[in-house]
Symmetry: C2
């Protein structure tokens, strides 16, 4: 008997190939897809042709170098792209990468035909994701948000960069052929205003499409907090459905005050169905929505025991969990993998929301959510630090999230204001990982 | 604190309006959407303009009556459509219908403009679902599958019907304007080969889109069975994770033999993660995939008790469950509603599958699945009969499922062959219901 995950990965491997002019959000979407797949436990890697060019040739090619009538440069660019392609196919064939995200412009029929040919030869399925956008304001914004810091323009003034990048785009535009091939593709037009799905089938392609349709670029923070300390927490008992301790009730009030200082007019608050999270929201004076999907990892027959109890009563179970905390499933209960599976619906709601959201969850559940926002591979999730009485603020940036931690544990309500100038931990350039050895850049 | 369901239904009500030429599958898709919504517990109703015409005028209008140059008939047809529209808006405004599925051709800009205007006035959101198909073979197949039995053609020979219906389509084609308005719509082209999503946002519209992309029209049966009788079944204990009884093991073998006689070459078998379903698959000699989403309703603190134990130990809980079996959630456990929520992913896989699937599940889980295939409102699910040692075969037909029950309980393996000529219970024209008073036809 196979697990659902094993069953799904029986299918041929998949290349998700981006397509589109520069500054259309290809890298943004490619990394989002990679993040989503990593979180679902799909071995994937992101392959960026621009980074490969800079690695091989050094950064700083002027816009003329991207002129399609510059034959020498065009030949070099094509070679670089095909090198990355071959490396990707090799890693997918021999090194366990199940999904390769091929982040390049792929704007000509000829280039795509070569891509199709090589994937077909290697028995790899192919899904194109084309990003189309002609709104000059969005493009200008994208250039400013992501190209000003590009190594291609190190030390140059902003106006000069924007000017040169617009010329680079114009060169690409001359050779650009939008997707007309009758192959599996998604066209994602004007940041999701229109989406065209062509010949999409299979679990991963259709989930990738569904995921993409939830994304938007309106900035808004997300907050993760565990419930306030519970009666069971004070006795180191796991699970259960106990009330808050005195200490926990005080945290709930501080949390309320903290959110008040943040002064979001349209804050949405999600809790689990368990008393300790609902009580936390209530004492924080937040109206909330209860999700069964946010309930704590179900410890089954070990619910309401301490870890020490478990070690003594079920030493075999205890040891099995130490061995593989991600996949270990409590008798009659859940594994981290099970929790992640049921959290997918919450992640999609968080992505979709245009309003700020505060999630009042639990240790395992918040670990799983945090792993997603940090773009971590799923195996790292069970060991993340998610302390009680700490609010984690996540602000989405171009390629990741900015992360701030507010410890509201040792202060009374009056001191919270000072917390707002807290240490910022930037997660903007977190590597996109899988269990194969993967670094941020190709 | 609201439940997720309450939170979602805070949003404005939604009209899903079909659009497209005759015999394009509008009614098929409309009823699928209604089925899906009913199962998710969304109060919805399907409004079919053709049925209203037949009710008002009687059936049997010849194709000429649909000629757009026939001004008198065009006026009548328009009035009929707007009558249904107003009735729908009235029921959505005053009678608790959250989603109205408006099943009409809506093929002209003018008609759609009126629809948009009236929904806007009533503060109702609108999503168009346009079905486009120009494959003459598919159209001919659709006519034969659904129009030969239409009351419009009662007693007519098949060839004449097909001929007249093709002329009816031709009339509509002359006036047809495909959707070009920049409003929320899905265009569903050639049975899903291409799907265009325009301005889709919000939970229901994007879930409807995702759902539709999973549908196909390749016929294949689905089978539902509970695990063989378990040790706990013999003692009337609920939940747990016990092994099969001797009786249960014998059922598993009969199930294997039964599936062998069915001789599907590409059968897929889904089980839960619990021993009794996995063991059933193993003894049936079926290789299987384990879904945590198929695990039995979790009875939380009442797990491993008999109903009598529960009544005595927790009379309050016992009574609460009797009162509202759908929404009742066991302490630390689940409600039927929770189970339905987690089964959505399985339903989508069953819809997507082009191969026959056998689900070896549990009582509550199989009830929830059966409620979907019978197009029942979700409140009927907790009382459906799903006996042990019975295989339910579901064969999708144009507007519903044909359902056969095979009782493999009292026979030994040799007698199973005779079971294959079993009673057929046709569920093809099951009403699409909600908690408002809803009948099959408008
Ligand atoms: N669907 C989209 N359409 C347009 N812009 C988007 C979209 N999604 C994200 N963005 C924005 O795109 C910017 C990131 O641009 P990105 O670097 O990904 O472009 P790119 O297409 O990879 O460019 P290049 O070809 O130079 O690598 C971000 O500011 C992000 O907000
Ligand atoms: N997306 C689709 N495209 C074409 N045919 C489809 C599609 N989905 C289902 N079908 C087929 O359509 C047939 C049902 O036709 P249906 O009665 O729904 O058409 P209709 O558009 O409602 O016609 P009418 O305008 O006469 O009411 C079924 O045989 C079904 O297999
Ligand atoms: Mg890029
Ligand atoms: Mg119809």
């Amino acid at each position: 008997a196979r697990t659902v995950k094993e069953w799904r990965s029986d299918r041929p491997h998949l290349v998700v190939a981006m397509a589109g002019l520069p500054a259309r959000g290809k890298t943004y979407i490619a990394r989002r897809i990679a993040r989503y797949l990593s979180w679902m436990g799909v071995q994937n890697r992101w392959y960026n042709v621009g980074n490969h060019r800079r690695q091989v040739l050094g950064a700083g090619q002027p816009n003329e170098w991207f002129d399609p009538s510059n034959e020498e440069a065009t030949r070099i660019r094509s070679n670089l792209a095909l090198q990355v392609l071959d490396m990707m196919i090799d890693e997918m064939t021999n090194k366990g990468v199940e999904v390769g995200v091929f982040d390049a412009t792929n704007t000509t029929l000829e280039r795509r035909a070569e891509l199709i040919r090589r994937c077909h030869e290697a028995n790899i399925e192919l899904l194109f994701v084309e990003l189309i956008c002609y709104d000059p304001e969005i493009i200008a914004h994208n250039i400013r948000e992501t190209k000003l810091t590009s190594p291609d323009y190190f030390g140059k003034p902003a106006d000069e960069i924007v000017h040169d990048f617009l010329l680079r785009i114009a060169h690409y535009e001359r050779a650009y052929q939008t997707l007309t091939e009758d192959i599996p593709y998604i066209k994602y037009v004007d940041v999701g205003r229109q989406v065209v799905l062509n010949r999409i089938k299979g679990y991963l392609p259709s989930h990738i499409c569904f995921y993409i349709t939830h994304l938007h670029t309106t900035p808004r923070p997300l907050y993760l907090s565990r419930h306030g300390e519970s009666e069971f927490n004070t006795r180191e008992i796991i699970g259960g459905d106990s009330d808050l301790s005195e200490n926990g009730r005080m945290y709930a009030q501080r949390l309320g005050k903290f959110m008040q200082l943040k002064a979001h007019r349209d804050l949405v608050c999600f809790t689990s169905t368990l008393r300790r999270t609902r009580e936390t929201a209530r004492l924080a004076a937040l109206s909330s929505v209860q999700w069964a999907a946010l309930d704590e990892l179900n410890a089954g027959t070990c619910d309401s025991m301490t870890y020490e109890d478990i070690r003594v009563a079920y030493p075999g179970e205890y040891a099995a969990r130490q061995q593989d905390k991600l996949r270990y499933r409590y008798p009659r209960g859940e594994s981290y993998e099970d929790v992640i599976e049921r959290l997918e619906t919450v992640i999609l709601e968080l992505e979709r929301s245009q309003s700020p959201v505060l999630v009042i969850g639990h240790q395992a559940v918040n670990r799983a959510l945090l792993a997603y926002f940090r773009s971590l591979a799923v195996d790292e999730c069970p060991i993340l630090e998610v302390p009680l009485h700490c609010v984690i603020e996540l602000v989405p940036k171009a390629y990741g999230c900015e992360e701030r931690h507010y410890y509201l544990d040792r202060d009374d309500v009056e001191n919270i204001e000072s917390k707002l100038v807290n240490v910022v931990k930037m997660q903007g350039e977190m590597p996109i990982t899988g269990s194969v050895n993967i670094s941020n850049e190709l």
